[in-house]
């Protein structure tokens, strides 16, 4: 069940590759650090992939390169057939913190990407879409509320809306719920799955929780540090939609066990 880093598309999904990385390297010359070494990755339309690794293995660098926030030292990054050379409209991103602006209402926060890219007029035109998204994440009725009055989970839901408002082709998630408590995190992960399935989104998640990676993903890539590289990819063959109850099944446990085993070896070497 383990695959090469360039995993084939999971069954049931369109095999069309959306996001492709070839031979991506990143090194910081001054500090003599190789952050990423020969990373190859393909994300297929509608699939959910994740990358897991210990802190400092280069997974955040990888995500920044994929988001166009940082350039690789070498390698090609293609989204939808066009090279990624900077931040792009068809990439949605979500961070550890909700990063909502406290002086804007929830609705204004969600429309911010549209307003920044295309101005106020376009933002007004996207109002209907924003309302639909708010309903999708269960924040209907909170349009005029300021972020200071939202709970952590609600703020992250609003951040999901802001990420989806531009109808991105791929969504990049940087440990999006790690600031939440475990009960809320499990719940939000299930919500994320529901939203992704409903929007048929192609998602890429960076995490350091094995259980989170397994329960959400079609493919889990394991990264090893110094230099940051992909060591193995696991295809997770659990039914969709996944439920939290699946986390107690032997199959789930077996995946977790094998990934932890691999990570443990990586830490020793």
């Amino acid at each position: 069940m383990t695959l090469s880093a360039q995993a084939t598309a999971p069954a049931g999904h369109s095999p069309r590759p959306v996001y492709q990385l070839h031979g991506v390297n990143k090194s910081y010359a001054q500090r003599n650090v190789v952050a990423l070494s020969n990373v190859n990755l393909t994300l297929h339309q509608g699939s959910f992939s994740s990358v897991i690794g210990s802190s400092g293995c280069g997974k955040s660098t990888l995500l920044k390169i994929m988001a166009g926030l940082q350039s690789p030292s070498e390698g090609s990054v293609m989204l939808d057939g066009k090279p990624v050379l900077g931040p792009r409209e068809d990439i949605g991103m979500m961070f550890q913190q909700a990063t909502l602006l406290p002086w804007l209402t929830t609705l204004e926060n969600i429309l911010l990407p549209i307003e920044i890219r295309s101005g106020r007029h376009s933002a007004r035109a996207a109002l209907d879409k924003a309302h639909t998204l708010l309903e999708l994440v269960g924040l209907k009725g909170f349009e005029a509320v300021y972020p200071g009055e939202l709970s952590g989970g609600m703020a992250q839901r609003a951040a999901i809306c802001r990420m989806l408002i531009g109808e991105p082709k791929v969504i990049l998630l940087d440990e999006p719920f790690s600031a939440l408590d475990e009960i809320n995190r499990d719940f939000m992960n299930m919500e994320l799955q529901r939203i992704c399935l409903q929007a048929n989104a192609t998602a890429f998640l960076v995490t350091h929780s094995i259980a989170e990676a397994v329960i959400l993903s079609d493919v889990v890539h394991v990264m090893s540090p110094r230099p940051g590289r992909f060591v193995e990819a696991f295809e997770i063959d659990l039914l969709r939609p996944r439920t939290l109850d699946m986390m107690t099944t032997p199959e789930f446990g077996a995946y977790v066990h094998r990934i932890r085993d691999l990570l443990g070896k990586g830490a020793l070497s």
Partner: protein
């Protein structure tokens, strides 16, 4: 509390534990006093000491007038102020200097603050110079401004602005660094330009620091205007105070200073009101970046 909970009796008469076992938080009566009462009490003590010193006859009434005499002068000066007499005219002059000086300080301070906070050049080259000038006793420049701008209102406005600029520059520059790294990254990821990032993220996120600088400046601007009047003449409040002092009319000096402090208080309160309007989101306890 429900009274079915027998381990937490609501009625103290029923089976309360022996007093020796009760551990109660102790609070000083001073801490439970309502704030206005506490303040009034302090003022009363202060006046009582003042009166005692006066009655002892140890200090000449020319140096320290009695509270009653000062109170009477307070009423005389206040009546003149309200009826549009010479005190009112002087008040207008000083108020004008304060308003113009403050406006000038805000325009120049904000511009310099943005240069310092937003550009690398400003941070490296402009900021050290500003710090160097800020460490100078700015009041010492008063004769220079008088020499340049004459004995009219202009030299006082210039000195008032000069004193108030620096806290504004520092507040703006610090404020522009207030937005956290995650919010900046979010702005970059949605393709915001530098101008958009400044206008939509850094400036709003920096408003609390800006207003902190503005509050310090609001106090400085009145001090600057009065110093300018002391050293450069004119028809303002500073001149009235100087004249009264030279006539050894200490009670009048005290009364004038009291009304002058109202001008400072009004300036300060304008800033506080503006802050409440513009930084409304801070009261909800949020940080730029949210949910941290």
């Amino acid at each position: 509390m429900s009274d079915t909970l027998n381990h937490a009796p609501a009625d103290p008469s029923s089976a309360s534990p022996p007093p020796s076992t009760v551990w109660k938080e102790k609070q000083s009566w001073l801490d439970v006093l309502p704030t206005p009462v506490a303040m009034a009490m302090l003022v009363a003590i202060f006046v009582a000491i003042w009166q005692a010193i006066h009655l002892s006859g140890l200090v000449s009434p020319i140096i320290l007038p009695s509270p009653a005499r000062t109170g009477a002068e307070l009423i005389t000066v206040g009546a003149n102020l309200l009826s549009g007499g010479f005190v009112f005219k002087a008040f207008l002059v000083t108020a004008q200097e304060v308003v113009f000086g403050f406006a000038m300080a805000i325009v120049i301070g904000v511009t310099l603050g943005i240069v310092v906070g937003e550009t690398h050049f400003g941070e490296r080259a402009v900021m050290p110079l500003i710090v160097a000038i800020d460490t100078m006793p700015k009041i010492a420049f008063a004769p220079v401004f008088v020499a340049w701008l004459g004995f009219g209102i202009a030299s006082k406005v210039a000195l008032a602005a000069f004193v108030a600029i620096f806290p504004i520059v520092v507040g703006v520059a610090a404020g522009l660094h207030a937005a956290d790294e995650n919010s900046r990254m979010m702005f970059r990821s949605i393709g915001a330009s530098r101008w958009q990032t400044l206008r939509r993220l850094k400036i709003p996120a920096g408003l609390p620091q800006f207003f902190t600088g503005l509050k310090i400046a609001a106090i400085g601007v009145v001090a600057g205007a009065i110093t300018g009047e002391f050293l450069g003449g004119g028809r303002g409040f500073g001149d009235l105070i100087r004249t009264a002092a030279s006539q050894l009319d200490t009670a009048r000096v005290f009364a004038l200073i009291f009304y002058l402090s109202l001008l400072g208080l009004a300036t300060y309160w304008c800033v506080v009101l503006a802050e409440r309007r513009m930084v409304f989101w801070r009261r909800t306890n949020a940080v730029a970046g949210g949910g941290r």
